[in-house]
Amino acid sequence: MSVLTSEWLKVRSLRSTYLVLGLALSAILMGLALAVMAAGMYDTASLAQRSRARIADLEEVLVMVPQLCMGILGALTITSEYTTGLIRTSLTLVPGRWPVLAAKSLIVGALGLIVGALTVFGTYFLSREVLGDRFAGAYTTPFQDRLPLLLALSLTVPVFALLGTAFGALIRSAAGAIAVIVGLVYVIPMIIGKIPEPWSERLGSLMIGALPREITGDTITTSVYGSLLSPAAAAMVMVAYATLPLIAATWLVRRRDA
């Protein structure tokens, strides 16, 4: 418990924490801007254009921003200690070592959950408010039907926070850990999208971006990912993303010279 309060103090006494959190939450403003622009375009469009007009689910597009930010926050909580050498003090104070990593994960995970829910639900409600019944699709379906997907989307943010912490501990360099997170969010899905079938869909189904819709069974054909996993399997893959790298990191941190 004392480790937890100590780690919490470390996180909230750093300026970078607030910058990253601010950046993550700015996704709500980006979503608002996109919704306002889209509404304006819809209103000036002809009737024929309107009937064909589609808009992506903005919260699904913009969740990438908090995903990236919280992944980086997770990485920074540990790599900044390696840069400054504070890690040696931290590990000396808690010789078992694993509580340090566990406490960090718990804190960035909880922050990720809050930030994820705020951005996803914030973007959803604001977009719904702004767009009303303009575009057929996402924002015209009742909230209850959308709730499972919104929850699953929110959950991907803490998963990234945990991934960031794990890769931060594994790689010990901010640049390296951030590169891995960016690779996971952007580069790998981009490349997988270009692979010929059937592997594009098979691998795409395993991407974190694909999991929310697989978990809720709310699949769409236009997805850039795949949708082959059952809800239970997708949930298990999500848990694996959150835990396996952390387990590897804990094992390594305990074994390696600090």
Partner: protein, 254 residues
């Protein structure tokens, strides 16, 4: 200037991170080979198919890896305090910064072009006579795209250097580079047409096909900019960010 360039060259080649980032960029060659073997096998089954060219598909990997190199050239000096020693030996900050930019430009252009050409050549050799879509045009037709891709990598690395100098933080500069390369284009993609195409035409990753006068993507369609204008915009990115970075280095106490 020559002396400072030579010093920056020593700095670059004497840290492991340089080789990690270049190694990550060079992974494109291996991925390109694996890719071609895979789509080649598919083509043997199906007769023919249209696959993306590996040097285009894996370009974001090279862009990102070498942008990290650009960022680290300056932020690692700020992180370690080495920047103060560097400025004591080269008190003219413009000289130091120009030398850094020069070395980053040379190193990334050389790396990117070698990796791109190697990927191009190996994939075409492996593809042979198969009909894979990407291997059916002449080298002279593909050359503009290869050159534009190489230039985009250098532009992005210099953007990383500029932002690194402005922010003095590895994480901050990397996040900004990622925003330019991935987040912004991703978000703009989802604007209703034709606005997505108009705005996207100005974004870094979409400049490459426009310079080579090719289609931006299936979603975005043809570009808006003629090749010379796209090239000008590509140069504007590093020019603006390097200027911002230079003023930050010049004005602030080290």
């Amino acid at each position: 200037m020559k002396a400072v360039l030579s010093s920056e060259w020593v700095k670059l080649r004497s840290v492991a991170s340089t080789f990690h980032t270049i190694g990550a960029a060079a992974a494109m060659v291996v991925l390109g080979i694996a890719w071609t073997v895979y789509v080649g096998a598919l083509a043997d089954e199906r007769g023919m198919l249209r696959a993306a060219a590996p040097e285009e598909g894996f370009l974001p990997l090279v862009q990102m890896s070498l942008a990290v190199l650009g960022v680290l050239t300056i932020t690692s000096e700020h992180a370690t305090g080495m920047i103060r020693t560097s400025l004591v030996t080269v008190p003219r900050r413009s000289t130091l910064f120009l030398a850094k930019a020069g070395i980053v430009a040379l190193a990334t252009l050389a790396t990117a072009m070698s990796v791109l050409l190697l990927t191009y050549v190996t994939s075409r050799l492996i593809a042979g006579e198969r009909h894979l879509g990407f291997n059916e045009s002449a080298f002279t037709n593909d050359l503009p795209m290869l050159l534009a891709s190489g230039l985009s990598v250098t532009a992005l690395a210099l953007v990383g250097l500029g932002l690194g100098a402005a922010m003095r933080s590895t994480a901050g500069a990397l996040v900004s580079v990622v925003s330019l390369l991935f987040v912004l284009p991703g978000v703009i993609n989802y604007l209703p047409p034709p606005w997505n195409t108009r705005i996207a035409a100005l974004l870094l990753p979409n400049l490459v096909p426009q310079i080579a006068s090719e289609r931006m993507s299936s979603r975005l369609g043809d570009g808006y900019l003629p090749p010379w204008a796209a090239l000008a915009v590509l140069f504007a990115y590093p020019l603006i960010t390097l200027t911002i970075g230079y003023y930050a280095l010049k004005r602030k106490d080290a």
